[in-house]
């Protein structure tokens, strides 16, 4: 299924977390995603790169069925999480989204306190038995999102009052708090300055220990820095997918090469 069979052999074998086969997405009459086949590994950071409008965000949103909230969107094909078809009728998209967390392009903290922002998911899903449990979940999530030190004294302050980088890390803490298995990140750093970006990237690298992370990014440097596997999308198709080092140094497809060297995109 890889463009280059040799590449598959050089891959360190990890468990496959998400497997997509023949995935098609339509927005009304527009065919947005064509025939995407991809195996996303567990405990790996996978980067989706490609020019704007190439469908990488759309495909990302298929992985936790966020596209269900868009009326005109239609998804076909087979996407499996741990071998289970997530588009099966028996699957509850709400449960799925608890397992496949998502961080968005623009930081979107709820207009609530920092504590309530993080506690939102655990409360909905009943993850805490008592207040002490919840306190612990909030603290460990904020610690994992590397923001605990900055906010521990003002957990009651509104989340919207934080700086952009802090807000994004708060959103990551919020996503982490529901204990997802996969974390989807849709251009998480595009609204952040370089310092905040570095903090978030560091965080992504740490999160790799527990989760499978999928990140959509416009920055090829970022993809090269944080990811182990990279997928290049172009005009709704998956052009090339492989080890990040391989994609950036020795791409197989001429389109990939053109894009990473800056000739198209």
């Amino acid at each position: 299924m890889y463009d280059n069979p040799d590449l598959a052999r050089t891959t360190v074998t990890r468990d496959i977390k998400i497997a997509a086969h023949g995935c098609q997405v339509y927005y009304g009459d527009t065919h947005a995603i064509r025939d995407v086949d991809i195996d996303i590994e567990d405990k790996t950071v996978t980067a989706f790169i490609g020019p704007s409008g190439c469908g990488k965000s759309t495909f990302l949103r298929c992985l936790n069925r966020m596209n269900d909230t868009i009326d005109i969107c239609r998804v076909e094909g087979d996407i499996r999480l741990d071998g289970e078809d997530i588009y099966d009728k028996r699957v509850d998209p709400v449960q799925l989204r608890a397992k496949v967390g998502m961080v968005f392009q623009k930081p979107n903290p709820f207009p609530k306190s920092i504590y309530d922002n993080v506690a939102y998911g655990p409360r909905i899903h009943g993850l805490a038995r008592c207040k002490a449990d919840l306190d612990e979940i909030v603290e460990s999530s904020l610690r994992r999102a590397a923001i605990w030190g900055e906010v521990k004294d003002r957990l009651d302050a509104p989340g919207t009052g934080l700086s952009g980088g802090q807000q994004q890390r708060l959103c990551i803490a919020r996503a982490v708090a529901t204990e997802p298995e996969v974390l989807l990140m849709d251009e998480p750093c595009s609204a952040l300055d370089p310092i905040a970006t570095a903090q978030v990237e560091e965080l992504i690298d740490e999160l790799r220990g527990q989760y499978s992370v999928v990140i959509v990014t416009h920055s090829m440097q970022q993809a090269a820095r944080v990811s182990q596997k990279t997928a290049f999308f172009h005009l709704g198709s998956l052009v090339e997918y492989g080890e990040t080092g391989h994609i950036f140094t020795n791409p197989t497809d001429p389109r990939t090469e053109s894009y990473i060297t800056g000739r198209i995109g």
């Binding site: 207009p111 609530k112 998911g121």
Partner: protein, 487 residues
């Protein structure tokens, strides 16, 4: 010259000025518009504005000021002897004005010549009969001083109108001439027009504000008159409302305020949940097709005249409630007109008000909030309850307060649905009445306009105005505070 003609002439001059200005500008540039500072039509517009605006502005001011000046001058000429016992100078002046109008009318209909109208004397002619013949009814026989004053009145007013015509026309012509002289290719007509338009817009805004102030002032002065005749304490804290035009009426506002608030509370209890839930459905759940159909349908409710709602209350809801709660049913309702009837119908009237404002506010909550919540595995209703509504709450409260001030000011539904008795009672199935309904009944009677029974209407209106103004200001304050959150 009638004012209408004057206005038309000024406009004609303006139109002529447009053509002339445009032509002069083009002529100055030798027909090449690239040599002009502005497009030719700007030169024309400049001439038109300078012709029409000052002339009409002066005309408006003159029309406002002239009656006051004429009144003052004629009134000063009235000898004290003409003001008999039991009347006032103001009353005599209103007679004088009526006579003057009557003379005008008689002349216009050919029943009198100009000369006659100017020279007739009360001693020789029965002016009352002569004017009665052309349909102007005068209360008493016309005395010599009044008739003389009326003739002076006519003369001064006539002179004033003539002067006004002259000055306005001169100003318009001067405007044409001045602006035509200034029309050269290098003249910055575009910028001048821009300034002119700004002043026209400012003027329009000022009119709206001045009108508001005028309404408030008229309420204030009449209210003060009322409180001279009736103690304020008894008005604000009296618990009985029983006006009797013969005198000795008790005009306590409390029963009316209670009725107003009771009916409003029932109306809000109906409209807020229904309107809010409808708004949530429309903005969060409904597909675009349903929304495109349902939203206008709900807003049709807002277009129904309140008198129709009143009929609905009187003919449908009242009898229906009576069937259930009346003598044959629960037995706590005496008649179809009751607080409950009016409250329910008013609630229906307010549904579109609440729903469409709330819908706008809920839609203003950024989609990223919903995505964030859904992305964490929340259901739609959890998202609405925990994220969307808290974020929209200040705005929704604002919408509810605006609906409340509508409810408090509503009249027709109450007149038809709630009955006319001013009661202080807790039973929602009893007839009560509101401040607005009583304003109507106090002013539509045959009352003497200077009696406390009629003047109380202004005090009621003032109280209502202060309450709704307070609610509106509070609502706007909340809505504005909410807006700052997302912009």
């Amino acid at each position: 010259m009638p004012v209408l003609w004057l206005v038309l002439i000024v406009f004609a001059l303006g139109a002529l000025g447009f053509v002339l200005g445009r032509r002069r500008a083009l002529g100055g540039a030798g027909g090449d518009i690239r040599l002009l500072h502005s497009l030719p039509s700007y030169y024309g517009t400049n001439v038109t504005l300078l012709t029409v605006v000052p002339a009409l502005f002066l005309l408006g001011i003159w029309l406002l000021v002239q009656p006051v000046v004429v009144d003052a001058r004629v009134s000063a000429m009235l000898p004290d002897s003409a003001i008999s016992e039991g009347t006032t100078r103001d009353l005599v002046m209103s007679d004088v004005r009526r006579i003057a109008e009557g003379l005008d009318k008689a002349v216009a209909e050919g029943a009198m010549t100009h000369r006659e109208a100017r020279d007739i004397r009360a001693e020789f002619t029965d002016v009352r009969n002569r004017l009665g013949a052309v349909g102007v009814a005068l209360g008493s026989t016309v005395g010599a001083p009044e008739l003389y004053a009326a003739q002076r009145y006519r003369r001064i007013a006539g002179e004033g109108s003539l002067a006004m015509t002259g000055v306005v026309l001169a100003l318009a012509l001067g405007g044409v001439a001045l602006s035509l002289i200034r029309t050269t290719p290098s003249f910055r007509a575009r910028n001048t027009v821009e300034t002119g338009i700004r002043y026209v817009l400012i003027f329009a805004a000022t009119i709206a504000i001045l009108t508001t102030i005028g309404i408030v002032l008229s309420l204030v002065f009449n209210t003060i008159d009322f409180f001279r005749l009736y103690p304020a304490w008894d008005f604000f804290f009296g618990t009985t409302w029983s006006p009797s035009f013969g005198g000795g009426s008790e005009l306590g506002i409390l029963p009316l305020l209670w009725g107003t608030f009771y009916i409003s509370i029932i109306a809000l209890a109906v409209s807020v949940p229904i309107g809010l839930f409808a708004a949530i459905y429309l903005s969060e759940y409904a597909s675009p097709h349903v929304r495109a159909f349902a939203k206008p349908m709900i807003e049709v409710l807002a277009g129904i005249p309140t008198i129709v709602y009143g009929l609905f209350a009187l003919l449908t809801v009242g009898p229906l409630l009576l069937k259930v709660f009346g003598q044959d049913g629960v037995g706590i309702m005496q008649a179809g007109t009751a607080v409950m009837t009016a409250g329910l119908v008013m609630g229906i009237m307010l549904i579109p008000f609440v729903s469409s404002l709330s819908d706008d506010i809920i839609n203003a909550v950024p989609q990223s909030m919903r995505d964030g919540s859904l992305g964490l595995g929340a259901t739609r209703s959890e998202t609405v309850r925990q994220v969307v509504l808290p974020a929209a709450l200040p705005g929704i409260v604002g919408a509810i307060l605006l609906a409340a001030s509508r409810a408090i000011g509503e009249t027709m539904i109450v007149v038809l649905g709630a009955g006319a008795a001013a009661n202080l009672s807790l039973n929602p199935f009893e007839a009560m009445t509101t401040v607005t309904a009583k304003i109507v009944s106090q002013l539509t009677g045959d009352a003497d306009f200077a009696s406390p029974e009629a003047l109380v209407a202004f005090a009621l209106g003032m109280t209502l105005f202060v309450i709704t103004l307070g609610l509106n200001v509070f609502a706007l304050y909340i809505v504005r505070k909410y807006r700052e959150q997302y912009e």
